[in-house]
């Protein structure tokens, strides 16, 4: 009897993420959601610039690699040309909430019928741990060595809350992947977001609070505790928009 199988939504290419990084879990959840709803065959994904840049090697569907932050615009072009396809982006917090702020806000405002999986790890992972727009007040990073000083570096952006003020989005939820129960919840949220798109309801985004043990300087277990603690406190999980 098969108890557990790797999702058919992932290729055989080994993931390139650091040990203990939750990018891998989020890949699995998205892949399972695509397969579960039988959408993989008509899915086109857009990979960002960031640690998940190689997502185009991992997801077992047609994939395109976008310029830094532009994934929602690229996905818009794909979706408008291929409305019958399921189009998703997978983006980090530097990609989506800094350089790509205009693209995500306007894709959401247009109610673009795409699904965004937004991985918030409060840091720029790929470039070695610099301050992100989501970096918490006081958080030490390579470019906020004295801790993020809100007087000079401003405050973190709460993307779900911000986008939920728009009329365009159909479904917005923030989830965390800090424990089994929440991982399941996250999977359900991603599946729901894809269902919204398949039903033609419009823009859906799932923000996933994620870890970066490497650049946080924490063990994987400590990282999960940080995620459940101060991160979830600043970025409360929950449904922010549901049409």
């Amino acid at each position: 009897m098969i108890v557990y199988e790797k999702s058919k939504g992932l290729t055989d290419t080994p993931l390139s993420y650091c040990p203990g990084c939750t990018h891998g879990i989020i890949h699995k959840l998205l892949a399972e959601a695509l397969c579960g709803a039988n959408l993989l065959g008509r899915a086109i994904g857009v990979a960002p610039v960031g640690c998940s840049v190689f997502a185009y090697n991992f997801f077992n569907c047609d994939m395109l690699q976008a310029p830094h932050g532009r994934a929602p615009a690229v996905a818009t072009g794909i979706k408008r040309a291929k409305p019958e396809h399921i189009v998703f982006t997978y983006q980090g917090d530097g990609d989506l909430a800094a350089i790509g702020t205009a693209e995500i806000v306007h894709a959401a405002a247009r109610g673009e019928n795409i699904t965004v999986v937004f991985v918030n790890n409060t840091i720029y992972g790929m470039t070695g741990g610099q301050m992100a727009p989501t970096t918490l007040p006081g958080q030490v990073t390579q470019t906020s060595p004295y801790g993020r000083d809100v007087k000079t570096a401003g405050y973190p952006i709460r993307v779900c809350e911000m986008l939920a003020t728009l009329d365009g989005p159909a479904y917005i939820e923030r989830v965390a992947v800090d424990c089994v129960k929440n991982v399941k919840k996250a999977g359900a949220a991603i599946a729901k977001a894809l269902r919204y798109q398949a039903d033609g309801k419009g823009f859906s985004l799932v923000e996933v609070l994620s870890t970066c043990p490497t650049n946080w300087g924490l063990t994987p277990a400590e990282s999960l505790r940080r995620l459940s603690g101060e991160m979830a406190a600043y970025f409360p999980p929950g449904v922010y928009k549901e049409l």
Partner: protein, 347 residues
């Protein structure tokens, strides 16, 4: 369709794209190209196409990239400051071997510059349309009819060589009205085996990322082999009274029409002037120019800039002829009389 229409250059570009089967247009308003957006916003819904006003030129080129990746004929247009913003997307499209047509109705720069006609984006278009080792096809129409025809050529060449193609015009050409007879048949889209979402048994990926230097070098070399094919096949020019000319004017786009008027005026006065007009700026018609310049011995390059194409002319001509330059910039359009004066001084 052999009827004649009176059209603005900008409208001709837009209608030609529709006739060429382009159903995806992504734009952002900027003078003097905004009519293309206005036309597309009206026309696209009539033909079941998409007009989308993006939040920026950056978004517009990236939407174009996304649509192109699915094999769709996609187009975006802008004017100088907006084209600068598109360079990121152009580079990625080159890196992904994706075709598209980009229209630049140039205005004066740098910065916000002005809104009058200019040719000061020649370097941007032909030298560095984006970062990295890359090329972009650059077409330079000189009449509203050519604005129309060039869109067909540009889509086809972009698909054949799998690279972005730019239609480099200026505010004069964009705004002027002239009669247009649309060519009978737009070329059929090329087969695009690389397109995403085609439902092929094997999944497809498109990316410009190669972390191994040798691999990236190899990809670039292969791409440049394609570029060099385009270089040998696509370069185009037009000559006017160049055969026996003692002074050869070299100008493209709207400026070439002013130069042509100066040549006619010079001939009326008995001066042997001629005109060489590049119709493609990349590839630049080097050999054709070299031959024409060698015969004339003296070359005068005329541009609406401080002198950009003149570098390509010097490279092409080498020491076979003396090369001079006359330019007006900032949106000032040179007058035929000014050019005539220069020609007379050279003769």
């Amino acid at each position: 369709m052999s009827k004649r229409y009176l059209m603005k250059g900008n409208e001709a570009v837009a209608e030609a794209a529709v006739m060429a089967g382009c159903r995806h247009f992504f734009g952002y308003p900027i003078t003097p190209q905004t009519e293309i957006n206005a036309y597309m916003s009206k026309r696209m819904p009539q033909v079941g196409g998409i007009y989308l006003q993006a939040e920026s030129e950056i978004a517009a080129i990236n939407m174009t990239l996304g649509a192109s990746a699915t094999g769709a004929r996609a187009m975006t247009s802008s004017s100088s400051p907006g084209i600068a913003l598109k360079t990121e997307g152009i580079s990625y499209m080159c890196g992904c071997d994706l075709p598209c047509v980009i229209v630049n109705i140039q205005r004066g720069g740098p910065g916000l510059g002005g809104i009058q006609p200019s040719q000061a984006d020649y370097y941007l278009a032909t030298r560095a349309p984006g970062h990295g080792d890359l090329r972009m096809l650059v077409f330079a129409p000189a009449t509203v009819q050519e604005m129309f025809d060039t869109v067909f050529t540009a889509f086809d060449a972009a698909e054949l060589y799998r690279m972005p193609a730019m239609l480099l015009a200026d505010g004069l050409l964009g705004q002027m009205m002239e009669p247009v007879t649309p060519p009978a048949l737009p070329p059929a889209p090329r087969e695009k085996l690389w397109a995403l979402g085609a439902g092929a048994p094997k999944r497809k990926t498109i990316s410009s990322l190669y972390l191994k230097p040798e691999e990236l070098e190899e990809v670039i070399r292969l791409r440049f082999a394609r570029y060099s094919e385009a270089e040998t096949r696509l370069s185009a020019c037009e000559e006017y009274l160049a055969e026996d000319a003692r002074v050869l004017l070299v100008a493209y786009g709207a400026t070439s029409r002013i130069a042509r008027a100066a040549v006619t005026a010079a001939r009326e006065k008995g001066h042997k002037a001629g005109l060489f007009r590049p119709k493609t700026l990349w590839p630049f018609p080097k050999e054709q120019l070299r031959a024409a310049a060698a015969k004339a011995g003296k070359v005068l390059v005329v541009e609406m800039s401080m002198g950009q194409m003149v570098s390509d002319v010097r490279l092409a001509v080498g020491d076979t002829a003396a090369v001079g330059f006359f330019g007006r910039t900032g949106g000032v359009v040179p007058l035929p009389e000014e050019l005539l004066e220069r020609v007379e001084a050279l003769i």
